[in-house]
Symmetry: C2
Subunit: 207 residues, 2 copies
């Protein structure tokens, strides 16, 4: 049986990366392997997480590189580790750089992202702060397929999280993060098992 | 002890109205009475609900009346039943007409609405259909203070509701409605007990 090759793009501490590596390592996600983790920030803690799990970690600095050029380098690095367009799966896990249309179309339907709000509310940066400033009582997190528009692709899974009185951006982010660590591996598992069907904007998970 | 006078504006079947009348009747909401229910649709079922609970029911057709003129008539009817600006509370319960800036400013901070989505997602009409078409996995309902902009005022309470596979607009609307019937009376209770404090966009409920 051929394993689905997964590439994870990161920029930060890699807690969602770790949740996925754990789910693969423990057999919750079967039939896939994370074959490369690529960070656009060369000193991201996530690269250390990857190495700790025995996964190839690549620092590929994006600073000063034009977006399309950078994404060309990304594609090259992904392919070198077997994450082929039309076959592999690309996961954004705290990846803070926008992908080019070129990249998104090349891996169309095979790129997932996790976002710390119940989309379509609060897309973009600082979603937790946006939620607190708006004054919502419930926020959450969303796993979605990536399309060229930011945080706008078909939604795979969502989880609601209550806002508590006295929440700061940090306490809310942490409460949401705990749910991110649950739903992101679940979403990857559904994909790997071939159970996700996208119909227009709607994603249906086969039983 | 003077009871807070509540006026409820309706257009339809009045199921949220009934939830509030029950909460007042059973003593869950203490210190308030619904003194008038006004419908802009003269044959709304909600008027019958009001009468069944012994509440004054007023049909005040809006068709063909300019918005400001109509809202002047509304104010007159509310005041006639003791729902005074700065003192009473106005509840929108399936009221399908936009209020004028004049009305909203007159009863500023004393008008609540319930909306069948987790605002700021899916404001406006057909929120359940919007949610299904967008493909979210979680929607819900929101009680908020009314400001001149539609569905944009400070949020008082929200409740998340899962979207099920195979949901239609009707099945989703019904599942959300069950939660509306819980949180709208809760929000009114907080108001009546003087426990709601608005700080900018954020509403804080004192314990």
């Amino acid at each position: 049986m051929t394993l689905l090759k997964v590439g994870v793009l990161v920029s930060g501490r890699g807690s969602n990366l770790e949740a996925i590596l754990k789910a693969v390592g423990s057999g919750v996600i079967k039939g896939a392997e994370v074959s490369v983790v690529i960070s656009n920030m060369p000193d991201a803690r996530a690269l250390g997480v990857a190495r700790r799990y025995g996964v190839k970690a690549v620092g590929l600095p994006s600073e000063g590189v034009a977006r399309e050029d950078y994404d060309g380098m990304l594609v090259e690095a992904l392919r070198r580790h077997g994450v082929e367009p039309g076959k592999g799966l690309v996961l954004l896990a705290g990846y803070m750089k926008m992908l080019s249309k070129y990249f998104v179309e090349l891996y169309q339907g095979r790129i997932m992202n996790i976002h710390p709000s119940l989309l379509p509310s609060f897309p973009g940066l600082n979603a937790q702060r946006q939620a607190l400033e708006y004054g919502v009582k419930i926020s959450g997190c969303t796993v979605h397929f990536v399309v060229p528009e930011v945080d706008a692709g078909p939604i795979i899974l969502q989880k609601a999280v209550e806002i508590h009185r006295g929440d700061t951006e940090e306490t809310l982010a942490l409460r949401i993060l705990r749910q991110e660590h649950r739903i992101y591996p679940q979403a990857v598992k559904l994909f790997v098992e071939g159970r996700l069907k996208v119909e227009g904007r709607r994603t249906v998970a086969a039983r």
